[in-house]
């Protein structure tokens, strides 16, 4: 069973509402921007590993919105404590999707430490997330998303993915002022 990243992202599109914030990183971010461009895509996390912490800040400051974070497994390994912080903060509007390809894909595809054994869903449960589940099949993902997103967060879905169609890596856009300005304007528009 394999789950292509672009198929997983396409499966998520119908479940992302107009008011939802999406925080995405690395190749998942580039693919998501191509597949579902929207002003409430938050792309400027600055430093590897920080997506979950940006998501927490957004979730705390915007309790009326859902915050979906499309994280990477190598990224999360740099900030495992953030799961404990998120669970302890008591946010119920944070949904953590972990795109687990088990390699540092944009840095030469070197394997993660512990690539064959690390259980991210178990990490999330142990940290205190309300629920955590893993998917490695598109049909199961499609079937599981409605229930997951109906429940209060913080929730984690580990998506055991392989690369699919890869979209261009526009680093100038994600680190540029225009992306931050359009996000800020959209956030404060309503």
């Amino acid at each position: 069973m394999t789950l292509r990243r672009d198929d997983a992202l396409k499966a998520l599109i119908p479940f992302v509402g107009d008011d939802d914030i999406v925080v995405a990183v690395y190749q998942s971010c580039f693919d998501w921007l191509a597949l579902n461009p929207r002003d409430l895509n938050y792309v400027a996390v600055g430093a590897m590993g920080q997506a979950s912490s940006h998501a927490l800040g957004l979730a705390l400051a915007n309790p009326g919105r859902r915050v979906l974070v499309f994280d990477g497994d190598g990224s999360l390994l740099m900030n495992l404590g953030s799961m404990v912080t998120i669970a302890n903060a008591g946010v119920t509007n944070l949904y953590h999707f972990l795109f687990a390809n088990r390699v540092y894909e944009v840095n030469g595809a070197h394997p993660l430490p512990g690539a064959d054994v690390v259980n991210f869903a178990a990490f999330a449960r142990a940290a205190g997330y309300a629920h955590a589940v893993s998917f490695n099949d598109l049909d199961r993902l499609r079937g599981g998303l409605p229930d997951m997103l109906k429940e209060a967060g913080p929730q984690m879905a580990v998506l055991e993915i392989v690369p699919g169609d890869a979209y261009p890596r526009d680093y100038n856009y994600i680190h540029g002022a225009a992306a931050r300005q359009s996000f800020r304007a959209a956030l404060n528009r309503r």
Partner: protein, 182 residues
């Protein structure tokens, strides 16, 4: 009227800043969100009182750079926050501050306890290498910072926070003497 107490040091009496006045300054700047890791310099005078103050929401983090991101993300809808930590955490967070605070131009306001600094000495005169290097590093990174150690140093807190948010840039308050819990 705030009483000022003095404590003997090897070079005579030194005065300590009031924790309650620092907290009042933070509140006067419109800050209700505190993100923190404990720091022994600010523990009794600031973090414990803040943790009991219903006027704040305290988010405890596991590592300091989490707080840089949390504060920055909060700022997008105008939410003001202060991140508290020790200078060791500041050093550990420099890349996040560089990227998120400086490159992205986002307001991240930090209160940093200078653990190991002698009360009667300037940071640059401290025997502690980890203290001596702090301001030169912040200067090299062109980061706005100010020192709080005398009682009268606390007066600029509201204006410094407001300036950081107005200019959308970081500011770091360095706490050179442990604030008193009064």
């Amino acid at each position: 009227m705030v009483a000022t107490s003095y404590t003997a040091s090897p070079c005579g009496a030194v005065a300590f800043p009031s924790g309650s006045r620092i907290i009042a300054g933070i509140k006067a700047a419109g800050v209700r969100e505190i993100i923190a890791l404990p720091d022994i310099v600010t523990s009794d005078g600031l973090l414990w009182p803040i943790s009991r103050d219903p006027g704040f929401r305290l988010t405890r983090v596991c590592k300091e750079d989490e707080g840089v991101s949390i504060c920055a993300a909060m700022s997008y809808n105008g939410t003001r926050a202060v991140l508290m930590m020790q200078q060791t955490g500041l050093m550990d967070s420099l890349n996040a501050i560089r990227a998120i605070g400086v490159d992205y131009g986002l307001p991240v306001v930090m209160i940093v306890g200078l653990q190991g600094k002698e009360p009667h000495l300037t940071p640059e005169d401290s025997a502690a290498y980890g203290v001596r290097i702090v301001r030169p590093i912040l200067n090299a990174m062109q980061l706005s910072h100010s020192l709080i150690e005398e009682p009268e140093d606390v007066g600029h807190i509201p204006q410094a926070i407001a300036a950081a948010y107005a200019a959308s840039r970081p500011h770091i308050f360095l706490i050179g003497r442990a604030p008193e819990a009064s």
